[in-house]
Amino acid sequence: MPKLRTAITSIFTHFLIWLFLIFALYPILWVIALAFSKGVVPESRVLPVPSHFSLEHFQAVILRTDAQGRWLFARQLWNSTLTATATAFVSVLIAIPAAYAFSRFDFVGKATTLRGLLATQMFPGVAASVPLYLVLDTLNLLDTLSGLVLVYATSTLPFALFQLRSTFDTIPRDLDEAAMVDGASRVEAFLRVVLPVARPGIAITALFAFMSAWNEFILAATFLSREEHYTLPILLQSYATEHDANLGHFAAGAILVSLPVMILFYLLQRELVAGLTAGGVKG
């Protein structure tokens, strides 16, 4: 009875997914409940529902202005968007050719370099922010979004390289070699044949770079020195100071900060879903 079996498998699949869905969404629902509550009432309860529905936290976060009466939220949203987009772009742009080379070529020092790249990810940055500050100072890039983009893009580079290299590794090299047999140069084969096939991997890598730039605040707060240059997570942090934690504002800010990433993921998932190499390998 294959039909019944399919039905049971399907129900079981949904059940499992729902189990994890609850696990994944429960804390988020609490953040939402906090953001929409009036004040914050400590209560012991199971269901994350706002105690007294109110938009006051969103109002406070969105309408906040600085000393000159400038609308901070819009300004910082723009800074964050610009920084994160540029980071994703620069990071992926720099990583793609290098990752391709790591996947396809053998060269002197390759293994050492790869090992070194992984090594950069192992070093906690406890003592690195002051030297990084000095580097940016030398490049005259302190207090600029370009400087921040440069730091973010390079710090996401090792990961982007690894991610893209394994993406290229999953693309059979027959593909580029076939193109080269047909008369294309290495660059052409790479640009016309390999790159389009690697799109989903590139999308994930770009998304990752975007997100790490979008959420970072310690370096941003260290390198930027004017409120009009600040990014959104810095604004968010100002609701969680030592004594003065306003969790309602914090939650509302967190939702506003997370929303673009959620939208982005929704958009990018279509890119991922679009099956890719199935056709490529056959050819």
């Binding site: 804390p27 988020i28 609490w30 953040v31 914050v40 009432v41 000393a67 620069v90 742009l93 990583a95 050719p97 290098a98 070529f105 053998d106 370099t113 070194g116 992984l118 090594a119 990810q121 192992m122 070093f123 906690p124 940055g125 406890v126 003592a127 690195a128 922010s129 030297p131 100072d137 370009s146 440069l150 893009a153 710090s155 580079l157 090792p158 690894f162 999953t170 140069s185 290495r186 660059v187 989903p200 994930i204 310690i218 707060a221 020195s225 004017r226 004594h243 306003n246 969790l247 967190a254 900060v257 990433v261 959620m262 993921f265 929704y266 998932q269 991922l272 099956g275 190499t277 199935a278």
Partner: protein, 759 residues
């Protein structure tokens, strides 16, 4: 055709190589307008910032009138980044002209040579401040700043909830505990922190440190205070696990008759709440020789001036302008504006003469005048960690007050050990130089080998593809990390660093002379970190891959929605969700315990035991991490050709065979680097441990990286020691990932022999 290809290649490589450097060109052009611009940094919350801004505006207007226009650029810095930003900026001359901070950081700034003295006392400030507060800004006999405002804990009383009996003593509140309805606390008070409990210690006559910086919170007086805390908790006078945030929420929502909190609570209290400010309750029967008054610590918020080397006329003018602004803000005129507009409890005595009304602010000020300024001694900041841990141990019932305090004093002595003596760096320089020469020798010899030269020449085209990425990484990742690693050979603070050789490493690896597996020793923490990493990564991969496989079923109903929803944990900044989970694990008000009791279990004190606190961290981090593995797997799954499965099915393979023979091998190339990365990130997952368990109980859930951060930031900024920790973390990770196959070119099994590039 040939030319266009050539051009295209050249252009592409040019663009790619230039990309990082284009950003340099767009660097900042310093705006220099007519008026002198000075920079002021602060870490105020929103309400207090308003008061400061209003006062600065008044200052600018007055300067304009006097014909010497000054522009003040105010920068609010998030509290978490304030200290590190000042430490990075001031030595490079990019710091502010003046900044605001609490006086308990003063000695650290002085020791690190980050600030300069206030200079000559202007006579117009005579009689402006309480000498006690000015004294708090003196260190080594020099005045370093001007006091702006005073903060201390006071008693907030909810008028509607307070019964018509006097509530003046701690005993009154204890009596109240039995009479209040369920869910209402007599006194919302964070007694488990050093700062929150200080008043009680003081009431019993105990003091934290003496003038020479010795730990003095020992003996019967301090023990009596701890016994009293135990009693307060046991009688239900104060809530368990009372954090500052819980205190605020309980009082603001009318669930506490009174609260012990500072002026920062007031702006969050809604208009419907009727409250007043009082001094803290007294002890009805004071111990012998004590008045019984509970006097909290006072912190003096002051304006300080970064040290710098004056370079010219411009600097002199800026220094003068900064000084003028500081005097204006601190003295009565500016203070009045700050009080009226930002609710600052201003330090200026004269300002209060012009402030009628402001009943509550006056009450704050009265309390502040009685309070004991926190000792300025730099070792005061190191009292907090050990004493916090002692109090929590006593409140959990793990230790009696006496032994707990003795343990705290040992910990204090250990953490405040003087830095190792300076060593002669010549030996290291000679060693380093000879090592370099040896390397150089081998490199030259290799270069002279003709066969190697051929290989190298053939590698050249490949270098064109990777050079830009490697240069950028070297400049902005490797170089800063390398410099950071070098500081591990130094000890001291700020600019005051001296070379100590391997002393930091020896200290760490010998567990600071204590048992090798004693609490907080490198080896014990390493063990916890390894356990933490293995459990996390295993759960990440199992959950992530399972979900990806479930989601990859092509005809799954609601698939796109599931996929987006399951990814959400990854979309929210992890510091937000870490804080949310921490709230959910609260003993009394957390949702996790609410669920547990709804299905019939006993509520759990999550942070009271290692096993549960570790589990809480683990749950949080599994929640944070599984979407990443899921997405990577999903991406990799789409690249597995469908016909492989079709062919296998034709051959009669079971789904189980398909999974192990097709899916797993095909997922490997994408998953292995992800797992390695995931392991590395988890090993260094600072945010979760720091924000969820914060090392509780008693530092047992600390992992290596959070331990390093404690040395860098809360244990007296021992940056060299913290750097040595991070180098050791690096070494451990490097050695343990050495054997991992991602370096082993296992991708060769894709079928071809790799040739050298012929691009």
């Amino acid at each position: 055709m040939l030319i266009s290809t050539l051009l295209q290649r050249r252009f592409l490589s040019l663009v790619l190589h230039m990309a990082p450097f284009l950003f340099v060109a767009s660097g900042r052009i310093q705006a220099q307008e007519g008026a002198l611009t000075i920079f002021l940094w602060h870490a105020y919350g929103e309400g207090e910032a308003r008061g400061l801004e209003a006062a600065v505006k008044a200052f600018q207007a007055r300067a304009q009138e006097e014909g010497r226009p000054i522009r003040v650029e105010i920068t609010p810095v998030p509290f978490g980044a304030y200290a590190s930003k000042l430490q990075a900026a001031i030595p490079t001359g990019k710091g502010p002209d003046l900044f605001i901070d609490a006086h308990d950081r003063l000695a650290f700034y002085v020791e690190s040579e980050l600030i300069r003295p206030f200079g000559a006392w202007p006579p117009e400030l005579d009689g402006e401040f309480d000498p006690l507060h000015l004294n708090a800004l003196r260190w080594k006999g020099v005045l370093w700043g001007l006091p702006l405002s005073i903060k201390c804990l006071v008693l907030y009383l909810n008028r509607k909830l307070a019964p018509p009996v006097p509530l003046e003593t701690l005993e009154d509140f204890e009596a109240l505990a039995t009479r209040l309805p369920k869910g209402i606390w007599p006194l919302a008070w964070e007694i488990s922190s050093t700062y929150g409990s200080a008043a009680l210690f003081h009431a019993y006559g105990a003091r934290h440190i003496d003038e020479a910086g010795h730990f003095t919170l020992l003996g019967p007086a301090a023990e009596a205070a701890l016994f009293r805390m135990q009693a307060l908790l046991a009688k239900g006078v104060v809530p368990p696990e009372g954090s500052g945030e819980l205190v605020r929420n309980l009082f603001a929502s009318g669930r506490a008759v009174a609260a012990v909190s500072g002026p920062w609570l007031a702006p969050d209290l809604g208009p419907e709440l009727e409250w007043e400010v009082r001094p803290l309750p007294r002890l009805r029967e004071p111990p012998k020789g004590q008045s019984g008054a509970m006097t909290p610590f006072a912190t003096v918020e002051a304006v300080f001036f970064p040290s710098r080397i004056p370079q010219g006329k411009e600097d002199k003018a800026r220094e003068q302008a900064a000084r003028a602004l500081a005097i204006f803000l601190a003295a009565s005129e500016g203070a009045r504006i700050r009080a009226l507009r930002g609710g600052h409890i201003v330090a200026s005595e004269r300002a209060w003469k012009g402030l009628e009304g402001l009943e509550r602010e006056r009450a704050f000020r009265e309390a502040a005048r009685q309070a004991i300024p926190m000792p300025t001694h730099p070792l005061m900041s190191r009292v907090f960690g050990p004493v916090d841990r002692a109090i929590r141990k006593v409140l959990r019932g793990e230790l009696e007050p006496g032994p707990a305090l003795i343990e705290a004093s040992h910990r204090f002595a250990d953490e405040t050990r003087p830095p190792p003596p300076p060593r002669d760096p010549r030996f290291a320089i000679v060693l380093l130089t000879s090592l370099l020469l040896v390397l150089l020798f081998f490199a030259t010899r290799r270069l002279l080998d003709p066969q190697f030269r051929v290989t190298l020449l053939r590698s050249l085209p490949a270098y064109a593809w990777v050079a830009h990425a490697l240069i950028a990484i070297f400049l902005l990742v490797v170089l800063p990390l390398g410099v950071g690693a070098l500081t591990s050979f130094f000890a001291g603070q700020g600019r005051n660093l001296h070379y100590v050789g391997l002393a930091n490493y020896i200290d760490i690896l010998t567990a600071r002379g204590q048992g090798l597996f004693s609490r907080g020793s490198f080896y014990l923490v390493l063990g916890v970190t390894i356990l933490w990493t293995i459990l996390n990564v295993t759960l990440h991969v199992v959950i992530g891959v399972s979900l990806a496989l479930l989601l990859s079923r092509s005809r799954l109903f609601l698939r796109p929605i599931y996929r987006v929803l399951l990814i959400l944990p990854w979309a929210i900044p992890n510091y937000v969700t870490a804080l949310t989970w921490k709230g959910m694990f609260h003993r009394q008000y957390g949702a996790v315990n609410a669920i547990l009791s709804a299905i019939g279990f006993e509520p759990v004190s999550w942070f009271a035991r290692f096993s549960t606190a570790f589990t809480a961290n683990l749950i949080t981090n599994v929640w944070l991490g599984f979407p990443f593995m899921m997405v990577v797997t999903l991406g990799a799954l789409t690249s597995i050709p469908k016909d492989l499965y079709e062919a296998a099915e034709v051959d009669g393979a079971t789904p189980w065979d398909c999974f192990w023979r097709i899916t797993v091998p095909m997922l490997r190339p994408a998953l292995l680097p992800a797992i390695t990365m995931g392991a590395v990130w988890t090993f260094n997952m600072f945010n979760v441990v720091f924000l969820v368990s914060a090392g509780e109980p008693d530092g047992s859930t600390e992992i290596l990286v959070s331990e390093a951060y404690r040395w860098a930031f809360t244990r007296g900024n021992q940056i060299g020691y913290a750097a040595a920790y991070s180098v050791l973390i690096f070494v451990v990770l490097f050695l343990s990932t050495r054997g991992l196959p991602i370096f082993g070119m296992q991708q060769k099994n894709l079928g071809e022999k790799k040739g050298v590039a012929h691009a």
